[in-house]
Each structure stands twice: as C-alpha cells, then as structure tokens.
Chain length 418, copies 2
Amino acid sequence: MTGKKYVLEKAKSAKEASRRMTTIGTKVKNQGLEAMADALIDNMDFILSANRRDIENGKEKGLSQYMLDRLLLNEKRINEMADGLRTVASLRDPIGEAVKMWKTENNLQIGQIRVPLGVIGMIYESRPNVTVDAAALCIKAGNSVILRGGSEAINSNTALAEVIKKAALDNGLPKGCIEFIEVTDREAVNEMMGLNGYIDVLIPRGGAGLINTVVKNATVPVIETGVGNCHIFIDEGADLKMAEDIVINGKTQRPGVCNAVETILIHKNIASQILPKIAENLTSKGVELRGCQAAKEILKDIKLALEEDWATEYLDFILAIKVVDSIDEAIDHIFKYGTKHSEAIVTNDYSKAQRFLKEIDASAVYVNASTRFTDGSQFGFGAEIGISTQKLHARGPMGLEELTTIKYIIYGEGQIRE
Amino acid sequence: MTGKKYVLEKAKSAKEASRRMTTIGTKVKNQGLEAMADALIDNMDFILSANRRDIENGKEKGLSQYMLDRLLLNEKRINEMADGLRTVASLRDPIGEAVKMWKTENNLQIGQIRVPLGVIGMIYESRPNVTVDAAALCIKAGNSVILRGGSEAINSNTALAEVIKKAALDNGLPKGCIEFIEVTDREAVNEMMGLNGYIDVLIPRGGAGLINTVVKNATVPVIETGVGNCHIFIDEGADLKMAEDIVINGKTQRPGVCNAVETILIHKNIASQILPKIAENLTSKGVELRGCQAAKEILKDIKLALEEDWATEYLDFILAIKVVDSIDEAIDHIFKYGTKHSEAIVTNDYSKAQRFLKEIDASAVYVNASTRFTDGSQFGFGAEIGISTQKLHARGPMGLEELTTIKYIIYGEGQIRE
C-alpha cells in the first residue's frame, strides 16, 4: 500500500471509530485507560527491547546525549506513563457537560453541550511518552487519535502503540480509536495535513521546524504549540530577593522547555543594585549572560547582546539582559520580541501589576511568580497535551476541555420561524 | 504602492490599533458605535449615491436580479444597519469577564480572562451590510478589523467604511481599528491569508468557492463558515401536522440561506400517509421535489433523485426526499451527506430524540423545531458575524464571545517551581 492510501485508510478507520466514541460511556473509557496502564507494565520487556533498538540507531546516527536522553525509556519512565493513564482515568469526563442552557422567547430550550472534537491528528518528535499521553487524553475526551511520531523513536512508538491499542480494543473501546502511522517518511505527514473531512484538528508537537511546516501547509485546522521567548520584567521597588529567586528559577530549573525565561528586563533605577547578585548566582550555575550596553556597563565582562539575541528562544543556559527606562519600554520590548507564551512582572506597584496583566498579549501573564508554571499539571488540569500559542480555540496549557468542542442541542415543541 | 505592500501597511496599522483597543473601556466603544450609527444616517445620500454606481455597474455586468437585490441599499436598509450598530452597543461587553478563577495548592491565583482576539480579517462578498455589521461586532469585542469586500460592492463598501471609520476615530477609537482594503484584486486576499503575526483570524463569508480558497490557502487561522446541507428526519409516530409545518418552514421561509432544509428523510411506516400532504403544500409554493424510488412510488410524478442530489445544498426551491427504514438509516445518511450544520428530527419517541441529539455530529441538532433557527439573533446573541461549520474555537452562530479569546492571568507572591 502506498503511503498516501495507507494514511487515508487509517483516517477512515479513526473517523468511523469517532462515531462509536460519542456513544460510549465514561466507565468504558476509564476501564480502557486502566487496561492500557496495566498493559504497559505487563509488556515492559517488549517495550524496553524496542526502545533499545532506537537508542542503538540513535547512537549510530550520532544523536546528542540530550536527544538520546529524551528518547530513552526505562522502568521508571514506563511506570510514569502508566501512572499518567490512571490519572487521566481519574479526571472528570468533560463530555456531556452543558456549558450553558437557556430558553428563548418562543420557548426553544437551547443547550450548549460539550462534545468530542472527533478525530485528532498528533504529529510529534522524539519523546515516546507522547504516544501514550496523547492517546490517553484524546480517548478520555471521546476522540479518536491518529499518532505519527518521529523516525528516531519509531520502534518505541510502534511497540507502545501496539500495546495500548490492544488493551483498549480488548476492553470495549472501538476499533480505530487509536491509529498509529508506522511509516516515518514525509509523505504521511503531507497526507495528514490535507485530510479535511477525516481529521478535525492537527496538533504538532516538537521543534519550530515541524510546527512551522504544519502551520504553513495544513488545510486541516491546526493548534499551534510551542515556541516561548519568555520575559521577566523586574520593576523598580520590586522585592529584590523575590526577583532574584524568580529569575534563577525561570532560567535554570529546566532551561530546555518553552516556559523557561530567555530575556530579563530590569528597571534602570534598580539595575546596578540587583544585576550583580543575579549575575553571580546565574554564572555560578553555568549560565552565560548577554546584555545591552547598560547591563554591560554594570556587569563588565559579559557579552554584548545583539539584535538577534532579543528574538532568540535559547532553550539553554543563556540569558539576555536589558535595562529599560520604564514599564512602557518593557511592554514595548515584549510586544516586539515576545511569542505570546508566558510573561512575568516582579513588582510591588499595584497599578503597574494591573497594567502588565492587561496590556501584555500572551497566553499566561504573571505577577510575582515564575514563568515555569505555565503547564497543565501546575495549573491543576491533571494532564496536558501541549501548550497552545495561538489564540483560536485554546490558549496556554491544553487539558481535556481543550480536546472538546460544543454543539447546540435544541428541544422544541413544533416551533417554526416567522 | 503595490497591492502587497498596501495590505501589509493596513495590517500593521490594525495591529497597532489592537494594542490600544485592549485598554479602551466599554463606554468609549459604545460611544463609537453610537456615533457610527448616527454617521450612517447623516451620510445617507453619500452612501446611496455610491451604491447607485455599484447597481449600475452590476446591471452592465449582467448580475441576476437576486444578486442586484443583495447589493441594493436604500433608506430602510441603512436604517437597519444603524439599528444594528445601536443593538451591538447595547450588548454586554464580553471583555474582562473571568470565565474561571481558582487557586492552586501553592496559592497561585489563576484567572481565565476573556480578552480580544486582536486583529480579525473579514473577506466577504456582495452584501454591503457586512462592512458595518462586522466592524461593529469586532470593535465591541475589542478587536481591530480589516475588511475586504467583493468587487461588485466596492463603491458601497468604500463609502460605508469611510463614514463609520471617521465616526469611530472622531469619537475616541484608535486609528487603525477599522481598516478597509480598497483594492479588489485577488492579490490582496492572497496577502491577507499569509499575514501570520499581523492577523489573528480570518473569517471568510460568501460562496463555497471563496470559503474553500481561504480554508485551503491561508496560513493564518481561519474560521470556516457556511455550507449547510441540512436534513429533517420525520420519525414514525411523529405529529404529522407538526412535521409538515416544520418541513414547509425549513424549505420555503427563506430557501437561499445555509440553515434551510435540503433533504427530508421519512420513516417508511408513515411515508404514504404524510408525503402526499407535504408534496401538495410544497408544490403549491413552487418547490420542485426529487425523491428516492420509494418516494417516487408514492408521489408518482416527481423527479428521481440522483446520488448528487443527496449531496447538494440547493439554496433554492428544490427539496430531495428519501424514505428510510429506521432512525439508523437516517443517522447514517446524515453522517454521509451532512455538512455538520443544522439537523432536525420530528418525533414523539423519547429514546429516538435523545439518540438523534447524541449521535448527530452537527453545530445545531433539533428535536421538533425548524432548522431555520440556527442564527445568532434567534439564539438570543443579539447579533451574528457568521455561522461556523468547523469544530475548532467556535461552532454554530458566532456572536461577540466567539470574537474573543482567553488569557491566563496569575497573581503570585513570589512562587517558584520546585
């Protein structure tokens, strides 16, 4: 079967299953998820041996240690996936909720009801746990899912998909509710991007290259995830210890993720007071600093930041520093270089806090807290399928609700329109 | 200025204005809308004379009477546009509403707050009132709008845009909040479709050709509107008089719109009883009937429906009729041919009503009411910018809320992530 026909068959199967999914109760979905968790534990060796092939291939291909670590599965990580499935099973089922219900003047009773999106296409890279996490969330929200992972994890993903799919089907979930694309060539992705009428939404997860390709080329609706060029603005009069803690946390707690801070903006009236402390703390943790002229005058031996530094999501132990004249300059800088992900102000000034919350256009805007909290689990969603950086449909961390849509149901008594 | 640069300048201006719009209060927006209404009345002659040029051009080009009527403005229609502006001014401002607000275990206070989408691009055809209606709704929801109407209405649209824009700017709304594209070549549309980073969402309104072009080619997120191949299923045991009234209303009250019914499905056990009455009533109103073999056996002299009839949105005085064995066959037919717009069942059977509401995948699903109610004004939204037939972001009639997004605002006390 050619790649194109192969993907279409998978999509048809997923679409057919999505019809069955709308009539399946919460209990069956939860039993399926629990069975998938059990199956991961029961098939630990099978999964680990598949993963070893990926790791060997990755070493041959010369993947970095960082990439190999993302790829690696072990007993602990498989247990975490199983725990994740059980957590999703324990979450409240979003389907069937009446978001609103009202009566019109002519006595129509109209309900806005939460229903599944239908078929969700996931296109993702490297980390094999996405195979399991995405399937769990999609199914709990009543959807079918088509999974297309990256080539470097193909053996791990295939094994994981096989195990959870069998458990799902053996426990009452419909055939086709989890479809896994075993071909890793580009043609499969191209085909998925054009399957309007079969796939209701595509969610790309991975590097900027993947996400841009999908956003630019898909005719199926896409939820854009990812890029976070996040800022922390330290206002004059801020609690300096608090500011320092938040900056250190935002940069070093896990620098490779989208909600880590990339540039700090510091009010000129406190720059010479706070910058040396922050710099000392950060450099002791191995962070390279790049500053504007004013920052460099205070810190001397740091690199001068270039225009491109302000626009870069380092995802690394590098931080850009800019001294600003006012909150206006800080807001303008974020407007110009921000990616609408997560932005924070550290301040003790009520009006400035409110201005920042109101004027910054981002999925999450913080006062006196680390940007690292933009995360479904930290927000209390229980799980997350990605972080939306677009404004349509979902914004910020996406949990179960974001994998649903609504429909209007209308109870009438024979009403016709005048 | 070339088309490309011209559109980019408009988009930059709209984006700049969208920043100002977030800080403008409800009172200023409402005063602007009221002033726009006054300006339409005050400039009646100016608008009507521009419209006369479009009508003359249309006649020269040989536009149909129907198209000319859609294009026509008169005192009554301009008054209606002004009334529409005042209605939008009277609606509750959706911006700033806390959709949810909660506290996490570590005492972060997280609010999900309704905010403007930013810059909305409208690409539309023929009816000039869209210029005014769309601008009103976008502004009330705190957005900037870029309007690009069809070539046949260019003089009317230009005049309307000029009048409302001046009134808006003279009354405190920011420069750029209404941008009108005066060029009607295709290049302007192409440019708008690729303006990621400037336009947050595109809403095409018009024929299937326009909508498909935008859905297929835009890299900016799109809300798909439009096509409605709507069905009414008449179950055995239905109130036959109610069924007849709903079918007549669904087909004839206004056949040229997307929520009009195109195919009726009739349970075989009541077909011979109800079909003759419905057929007599419809043909007396000039409706052409096309039926399946079983329907033709009852009604004799109607045309035989072809496969393509089931898939056609006639938007005309034509109705397809199919006799079905069961609700299952009806649901399967709608799954195969429906466009997920509006679907109705007429029944007195509780279980079938609930099954239909649950299993039909459409933006609006009715029991015992006409499909013609799928409309923002009928739903009580006060106004409508279109009817979404996609599942992402908005589904069904779109009012003010659908022109907003959310952002998370987080009040902290120095929290960092462990």
